[in-house]
Amino acid sequence: MIDKMLLSGNEALARGAYEAGVTIGCGYPGTPSTEILENLVNYQGVYTQWSPNEKVALEVAAGACWAGARSVVTMKHVGLNVAADPLMTLSYLGVKGGLAVIVCDDPGMHSSQNEQDTRHYARLGKIPLLEPSDSQEAKDFVRFAMDISERFCTPVIIRSTTRISHSRSLVSLGERAEQGQKPFFVKDPKRFVPVPVYARQMKVRVDKRLEELASFASIHASNKVLRMGAGLGIITSGIAYQYARETFPDASILKLGMSYPFPDKLILDFSETVESLLIVEELDAFLEEHCLALGLKVEGIKHRPKQGELDLDRLEGMKMSFCTSHNIVCESKGSRDIDMKQESAAALPPRPPVLCPGCPHRGIFYELRKFKPVIIGDIGCYSLAVFPPLEAMDTILCMGSGVSSTLGLEKSGTEQKVVGVVGDSTFFHSGMTGLLDIVYNKGTATILVLDNRTTAMTGHQEHPGTGRTLMGEETVCANIEEIARALGVRHVKTIDPYKLSEVRETLKEALDLDEPSVVISRRPCLLLKKTERGRPFSVANGLCEGCGACLKLGCPGLEMEKGKEKGFKVRINQMLCVGCGLCAQICPKDAFVRD
C-alpha cells in the first residue's frame, strides 16, 4: 500500500498502533489525546476500551503486555500523574509484549489546567522517550516504540503535543504486522514481583538498560542530523523542529526523535561540527539542561518565554535575541515590519468559551450561587461556570478533588457551607474514593454530581455510567445513586436541572443537613446526537423591558446589545436556542414564548 492520507497526529498514532500489531488500546479521554482511541477502535483486530481513569488503563495494558500482547495506553499530560504510580514500577518489572504510553502535552493550556512537560517522567522512570514532529512520525514512532519496548524490555513513552495531535499532515500508510505468538503468561516471580529482595535486582537491570538505551539512541533512525552550515547548530525535538526548520533555513539541525535517554555521543559529535549551539524546545529546558551538564556551551530558554507554546513568531523573537547577543546580523522576516494596528483588536469584546445553550449545568449553577457556599469544582465543561455572569466556581484542582477537597475545607474549621461539584465521568474517575472519605471521616458536605450521561468536554466518550463500551457494546450501567448509598451516603437525591424550583428546594434541603449528601443532576448533554432539542423560544412583542434577569444565566442564545438606540431589549438567537426554558422560568414579565 502506498496511499497517502491527510491524518491528524492522533489519527496517525492510532494507525501506527494498528500497523505495529497492537491488539490492546486503553485510556481515559483528555484533550489533546482523546481521538487516538476513538480512531483505534475502528481498526479490526484491536481491542480498545475507555478505563475509569488513567491508572486503571495503564494497569490493564500492563497485564496484557506481560502475557505478550502489544498495547498502547493514551492520556493527556495530567493523566500521567494519575498513572505515574504503575508506570514507575512497570519500568522495573518491564514488559514482554511492547507497551507504549502515549501522552499528549498541552503547551499553552488550550484545554488544560497546567502545562507540565511529560519529558521529565521519562527521566524519572528511566523510560525511553519518543517525540514525533508530524503525523508521519507519529505513525512511524509507534512501530519504533514497540520494537524498543520489546528489545529492551521496557515501557516506552511517546510524547505528543497539541500541535502534533491536532495538526494534519500527509502520511504514507503501511500494512499491519500481525504478532504471531499466542499470548501466554510465563510465571517468573523474580521478574514480576517487586518485593524488596527482587526489586533491588530489578533496579540494577533498569540502570544497565538505561546505559544500553543511551548508546542505542545515538544510532537510532529517529535521531538525525540535517547538515547545513558550520556556523549555527540547533538541537530540537517534536513540533519545535518544524518551527526551527522554517525559522533557521541555514542552520544545521540535530533533530531528536528518541530524546531520552539522551543520545550523548550524537550530541557531542554534532557539537564539534558547529560554532554555536541553540536549543529549540517547547516548555522546559529539558534538552538544554542536559547539554549544559555535558559541558557544552548552549543557549536556549533565556531567548524565549518560559510560558506557553512555541510558534513561528516566538521563534523569530528567539532568533533575534540570540543573534543580537552574539552580534550576528540576521534579517528579520518577522511580523515586526508590519503595522499591526493592534488597537482595533484591543477594543473588541472578548469571546471566551461558554456553557452551550441549553447546557444542563447552567440552571444548577444559577441556583447554587444564591446560597453563597464555597464551591469546589472539578475538571469538565462545568469549569466554565467560573466566568461571569454565573461565577459559581471557587476552586478547581484536579480530577476528583471536587469531592475530596470539600472535606479538608470543612475540617479547616471554617463555618462556611461547602459544596463539591463533579461530573459523571469524573465521579467514576476519582470521585468515588473521595466520597468514601467524606462518609468515613464524618464530613457533611453536599456533593453535586452533574450527570450529563457522557464525558462531554472531550467530545462525548462512553464511561461506566453510560451502559456502553468504547467498542459499542452494551454493558452494565453503573448507577451513581446506588454507588453513593453503598459508600454510606444516606441522603441521595436526583433532580432535573431544567426545573429551577426543584433544583432550589433540593439544594436547600441538602445544604441544611448535618450529614453528607449527594445531589445528582441528571440530563443528557445537548451535544449528544440522541438528545432531543426543544423548539426555540422567542421574545413576545413588546414584553421585554430589558431588566436583564435572564442574562444572569449566561446563555449565549440570549443576546442583548447595549446602547440607547438599541433599546436594551433581549432577543433570542433562533439558531442557538434549544428550548430549555430556563429564561422563561426567570423572566418577571413572562416575555419568552415557545414558537
Binding site: 518577522g334 494596528k341 472578548p350 469571546r351 442574562l551
Partner: protein, 197 residues
C-alpha cells in the same frame, strides 16, 4: 523555500470551521500539494473564538501561520476578522461573513459589540470581501451551511478546479444535506458584492 499559501480560518466554536478547514486541506491534497493544518478541540471549542490554520505548497514545515503572513483571512463572524487581523499579510485578502454573534461578555457583561463592524472591517483591511454568508445559506433553507458558502467564496481565489470541491462535498456531507450544500458552495463561489454608492 517555495511559496506556501497560508489560510487563517476564524469564527466562533460551533460554526463549522472544522468542515471548512477539512474541505480546503483536502482540495489542496487532491491537487498534489503538501499540507499542514491545525484544528481546535476541547474546551476552546465551546462557543469561544476559534481559529484553524491551513498551509499548503511544495513542502510545509510548521502547521501554524506566522503573524502577518496569511494570504487569506477567512472569518465566519464579522468581529472575529478583526480579532485575528494581524495574521493577514499586507498583500493578503480578507473574506468576511457579515454574520454577527453577540458574545455573552456583551449581553451579560460590561463589553460592547461595535456599532458598525463592517465599516471597521473596511477600514482595517484593504479591499475586503464582505459576504452575507448566513443570509445566503438561510435563503437556501439551511442556515447552518454558511460555512460552505464561505468555502465557495474562498474557492474563487484558490487554484483548484470546481469539480474537486464538489467531489469533496459529496464525500463529506450526508446525502440528505448534499444538494443544499452544493447550492451553498456555488452561491459563495459566484458571490459578488453589491456595488456601494
Amino acid at each position: 523555500m517555495s511559496k506556501i499559501t497560508n489560510c487563517m480560518l476564524v469564527g466562533v466554536g460551533g460554526q463549522g470551521i472544522l468542515l471548512a478547514s477539512s474541505m480546503i486541506s483536502n482540495a489542496a491534497m487532491a491537487c498534489g500539494m503538501d499540507i499542514k493544518n491545525n484544528e481546535v478541540h476541547g474546551m476552546a471549542q465551546r462557543g469561544g473564538s476559534v481559529a484553524a490554520q491551513i498551509r499548503f505548497g511544495e513542502e510545509v514545515y510548521s502547521p501554524l501561520v506566522k503573524k502577518g503572513k496569511a494570504d487569506f483571512l477567512i472569518a465566519l463572524e464579522v468581529i472575529e476578522a478583526l480579532r485575528y487581523a494581524d495574521f493577514l499579510s499586507p498583500q493578503g485578502k480578507a473574506l468576511v461573513s457579515t454574520q454577527r454573534i453577540i458574545p455573552t461578555t456583551v449581553s451579560a457583561g460590561p463589553f460592547e459589540y461595535p456599532d458598525d463592524p463592517e465599516e471597521l472591517v473596511r477600514r482595517r483591511f484593504s479591499d475586503p470581501v464582505l459576504c452575507p454568508c448566513m443570509d445566503i445559506a438561510a435563503g437556501l433553507g439551511e442556515p447552518r451551511a454558511s460555512n460552505i458558502v464561505m468555502t465557495g467564496l474562498l474557492s474563487r481565489y484558490l487554484p483548484f478546479p470546481e469539480q474537486i470541491w464538489i467531489d469533496l462535498l459529496k464525500k463529506q456531507i450526508k446525502p440528505e444535506y448534499l444538494a443544499v450544500n452544493i447550492e451553498a458552495f456555488v452561491a459563495g463561489r459566484h458571490f459578488h458584492e453589491p456595488v456601494l454608492e
